[in-house]
């Protein structure tokens, strides 16, 4: 007898199949290249390269998974962790969609809205990159024009200005403490910059949850 799966169960089942499938295919890429061109890896150098790179990114990856999954929802998580660019594209896109539709992220409507926003964003991104690859010769001088460089260098401030004002103003009681803490840390700790902002996201999320919990217990929010 076929088991009757709920929608969420089927998202998890399909997501697992897709993600594990993509992971195997991703690993097949270097294996196939090695096989076709008759080149085995330089094992010692590979080990050294991995030791220099993997531990830090694995640790970050574990923390990112725990932090982002509850925000992205089920369908959104499976997709986002395959297509990447989570904090600078997929999550803002989902947050904006939830906000516009006035639905809570933890409801089924919220799950569907965020999956739809993230899937659309993934499709558009993939297609634009394909166009970029096909048209790289005519596009390179335009996209690398010095006049445009500052615009793309300042994408994150331009994104979080708009997103921040919408979200912070609606939840200002919760937002005051984390915004102040992050301002002080980023202004006075030189090590905090574009490269380390990703590590500060989980720190800030945990701190904000703690603040929100205290305010909730005191009946302020």
């Amino acid at each position: 007898m076929k088991k009757n799966l709920s929608y969420m169960d089927s998202v998890h089942r399909d997501g697992r199949i897709w993600n594990i499938g993509v992971m195997i295919l991703l690993l097949m890429f270097p294996v196939t290249v090695a096989f076709i061109f008759g080149a085995s890896p330089d094992w010692m150098a590979l080990l050294k390269g991995l030791i220099a790179t993997a531990p830090m990114y694995w640790a970050v990856g574990v923390i990112e998974t725990i932090t982002f999954v509850p925000m992205l929802g089920a369908g959104g998580s499976y997709l986002s962790f395959v297509t990447g660019n989570i904090s600078n594209l997929k999550l803002p896109c989902a947050i904006n969609a939830l906000e516009q539709n006035q639905v809570s992220a933890s409801s089924e409507e919220g799950e569907l809205i965020s999956t739809i926003a993230i899937a659309t964003s993934s499709i558009v991104t993939t297609v634009i990159i394909i166009l970029g690859v096909v048209l790289i010769v005519p596009l390179t001088p335009i996209l690398e024009a010095p006049v445009l460089e500052p615009a793309f260098a300042q994408m994150l401030p331009a994104l979080f200005g708009g997103l921040g004002v919408a979200f912070v103003s609606k939840n200002w009681k919760i937002a005051v403490a984390p915004v102040l803490l992050m301002l002080v840390l980023f202004i006075f700790v030189p090590a905090l910059n574009e490269g380390t902002v990703g590590i500060m996201v989980p720190v800030s999320v945990l701190f904000t949850i703690a603040v929100a919990r205290i305010l909730y217990k005191k009946g302020v929010v």
Binding site: H12, D14, G15, W18, N19, I20, V22, L26, L27, F29, T32, V33, F37, S40, P41, L46, G49, A52, T53, G61, V62, E64, T67, V69, M71, G75, V82, T83, N96, S104, S106, A119, T120, S121, I123, T125, T126, I129, I136, L139, V147, P150, A158, F160, G161, L163, G164, A175, P178, V179, L183, F186, I187, P190, L192, N193, V197, V201, I209, A212
Partner: protein, 261 residues
Amino acid sequence: MEFYVNHPLLFILAGVLVAVVLAQSVYFLVKAVRRSKVIGMDQTKIRKTIQTAAVFTVAPAVAIVISVIALSKSLGLPLPWLRLSVVGSLSYETIAAENAVSAMDLTLGKIDALTAQQYVNIVLVMTVSIMVGIWLVPVIGKKLLSGMSNLEHKDGKWAEILNNAMFIGMISAFLGYVFCNISRLWLADESGMVTVEESGQVLRLPGTSGLVPVCVMAVSALTMVLCGLGMKKWKWLNDYALPISLVVGMASAIPFTAWLG
């Protein structure tokens, strides 16, 4: 077969993977839209969500294309195309590639032509080091999310506050980041200049350059507020408020950078 970084076979291999990832996105989109019909959600809202997400994605996606072009100079086109379509980012791929080649006593950007062996090493380091999310979501995703939905049943109000708190936490970190170079204002020497190291290069910049992201953020926030005011008259503004703020903010970076450095 002789290897080179733009070999047609590499394009085919990368293309197959990109096609699979595209198929996954389409699959989840169709699945979610179907479900939204079953539970009776307003389909005009669904269409608007799709339109807004698509428009919003254009500028960030173009930024990703720029990263592909930057990386293609040392790694050829197929690998950056694949890496930035699946998981990666410019800074991560650069670090991974540098670590992979320096383990072979070479320096990225100073190699005339990568050999197949060097290429395989680079790809393996890039792929293995960033793999965590892809398999960890299938392992713990369901548990994490059912924990969230249990909470929703137990204390719905707290569950909603918790969700908002997570979003605010993430946004706060990025708002802090916008101010990370403001200390250049008081670190500048008598000539008003400051020496900084950016992506391995030593640069002399005006002390006021740290204000550029702050001004860009302010313009973007102001645009968002104006869209909020204007949407009483023009309803469509509500749908495109975020992409409009993003593009206006990015455009304002051009005069701000020319002015402040």
